[in-house]
């Protein structure tokens, strides 16, 4: 059913810390690895070792250069996957009912055997979180590792989305954002977590923690007194060497 549930029991989602992410793309690889061999169709690649490689990814990391009015530019790595929106426009546009939002935990999924591959849901998603697999011709998207988080065959520590489990920097957090007391909700509160493109009205569940303000550079360099300024016009032996080298 592609009408959205009035409310969901839980709002499972991710909190992504833009201050901590180092842009290593480990989450991209672990996501692709897990999801290509579990839920649904594999994530195909086209021309992977050739001149024009491309492929299906459920999670991609962008990098932005942000130039403050004063001071040095900052490089911010920006992982992006499905935000499991509360008002998910990708669900309501789907003609077949293949796209749906689960009442029990709010996860947005695609039932691939119903998907006709019309692509409309990818058009409706402002975040680029859905990709049509070029091999299987069905819509792929982040499942929040629905086949891990409830999987009792896995050790408890592994019952989180693959990207969260993998992130070496601890920049990705998973939990119930509908519960104000959960760790993730507390983190969002503490760090001022934000919605991406709030004006699109999708009410994303996933939140992004903005980068913390950078420390200002100290006024002087502690080593400065030990370093003589470079002599602009060398004299003596250096002067002779400079001229001699110039002549060669």
């Amino acid at each position: 059913m592609t009408t959205l549930p009035q409310s969901t029991d839980k709002k499972l989602g991710l909190v992504i810390d833009l201050d901590t992410c180092v842009g290593c793309h480990a989450c991209v690889i672990s996501c692709k690895g897990w999801n290509t061999e579990n839920y649904g169709a594999p994530l195909s690649d086209q021309d992977p070792y050739g001149a024009d490689p491309s492929g299906t990814f459920l999670n991609r990391v962008h990098s932005y250069e942000v130039q403050p009015e004063q001071g040095a530019a900052q490089l911010i790595h920006f992982p992006k996957s499905c935000l499991h929106c509360e008002d998910a426009p990708c669900v309501t546009v789907c003609p077949t009912g293949a796209s749906y939002k689960r009442v029990e935990d709010g996860i947005v999924l695609v039932n691939e055997s119903d998907c006709i591959g019309c692509g409309l849901c990818a058009w409706a998603c402002p975040y680029g979180a859905r990709e049509m697999d070029q091999e299987e011709k069905v819509m792929k998207k982040c499942t929040l590792c629905v086949d891990r988080i409830y999987n009792e065959n896995l050790p408890k520590v592994d019952r989180v989305p693959s990207c969260v489990r993998t992130c070496p920097a601890g920049a990705r957090h998973f939990g119930d954002l509908g519960d104000p007391d959960s760790d993730v909700s507390q983190l969002v509160l503490e760090r001022g977590g934000v919605d991406l493109m709030p004006e699109q009205g999708t009410k994303p569940v996933n939140k992004y923690l903005p980068p913390r303000p950078k420390d200002a550079l100290p006024e002087f360099d502690v080593l400065a007194p030990f370093l003589e300024p470079v002599i602009a016009e060398p004299k003596g032996f250096l002067g002779w060497l400079d001229k001699a080298l110039e002549k060669i």
């Binding site: 592609t2 009408t3 130039q67 006709i116 058009w123 680029g128 990709e131 493109m197 004006e199």
Partner: protein, 290 residues
């Protein structure tokens, strides 16, 4: 947006076909027998041909019947229902005209309603998308409906109505372009709102996620040909509007009428190509593109 030929042909030809069906359903022209057969054949070829071409765009056309299930929320599903209702009703109505020489008015009126409903629901598939601000406005359905009615009048041989409707459609087309040009800026979606990094400073896309291209860029970030947009708009306007109107105002002659139809269709195809090629999807902002 990627201007996929299948979708452009679908929307233009089915728009024309359903436009003609709407006129026939209203009993204009009041044809029966063989001439009714000719008119209905043209209308069905266009409408059904368009629908078939749209299935080329699907990854799994064999599951297309599933698209009838979600009419409560999905405009694409509603379009499927309208199209089938229109084709069935107009088929019954056409049978009456062609074989029984009788006009079942109510069936015709309902058929006309669903024919226009099909064009409307098609346009709403685009107009509903907040992610493409250029399409997300009431002018999009008006643009589609006016073109369909004008093209239908042209095919139905209604010279006077066609002149007036083509004029209206051309004006709406110009308005769609000019107002559409401002929509992305008005939507408030920018790289700053997309990344929420605007408070830190000016955001510039430094590195895309992968060195190669991907589905999102191919489907949503189509910039080729945009530089010729203003020339193509003028060409589209001349072909779809000015030329047919001038030709229709000349003393009537079948060859001239055919040329008017061909010019109009070529113009609408150009305009529809621009409709896609010029549409900016907000996801492009994540790539520093539009």
């Amino acid at each position: 947006m990627h201007p996929a030929p299948s979708v452009i042909f679908f929307s233009v030809f089915s728009g024309l076909g359903f436009g003609l069906l709407a006129w026939l359903g209203l009993g204009i022209p009041a044809v029966t027998g063989f001439s009714a057969f000719a008119f209905f054949t043209i209308a069905y070829l266009l409408a059904v041909g368009g629908l078939i071409s749209s299935t080329f765009h699907l990854g799994h056309p064999e599951r297309a019947l599933k698209a009838f299930t979600q009419w409560r929320s999905s405009w694409l599903s509603r379009e499927a229902w309208c199209a089938v209702a229109a084709l069935v009703l107009m088929g019954i109505y056409g049978l009456g005209l062609v074989f029984f020489d009788s006009r079942w008015t109510l069936v015709g009126l309902l058929g006309a309603l669903f024919s226009l409903g099909t064009v409307f629901t098609t346009s709403m598939i685009y107009a509903q998308l907040k992610t493409v601000p250029r399409w997300h406005m009431p002018l999009t359905p008006l643009n589609f409906l006016s073109l369909s009615l004008a093209g239908g009048a042209l095919l139905a041989g209604q010279v006077q109505s066609a002149v007036v409707l083509i004029l209206i459609a051309a004006c709406l087309q110009i308005a769609t372009w000019l107002i559409g040009d401002k929509r992305l800026a008005q939507s408030g979606t920018t790289m700053a709102s997309a990344t929420q990094l605007g408070d830190v400073g000016t955001v510039r896309a430094f590195e895309p996620p992968h060195t190669g291209t991907n589905y999102l860029l191919r489907e949503f970030v189509h910039v080729i040909g945009r530089k010729h947009a203003s020339k193509l708009r003028i060409i589209a306007l001349i072909l779809m509007g000015i030329l047919p109107i001038v030709l229709l105002l000349l003393p009537f002659n079948h060859i001239i009428a055919v040329i008017a139809v061909l010019a109009h269709v070529a113009g609408v195809l150009t305009a529809r190509w621009l409709f896609f090629a010029q549409a900016e999807h907000v996801v492009g902002l994540y790539y520093g593109k539009r």
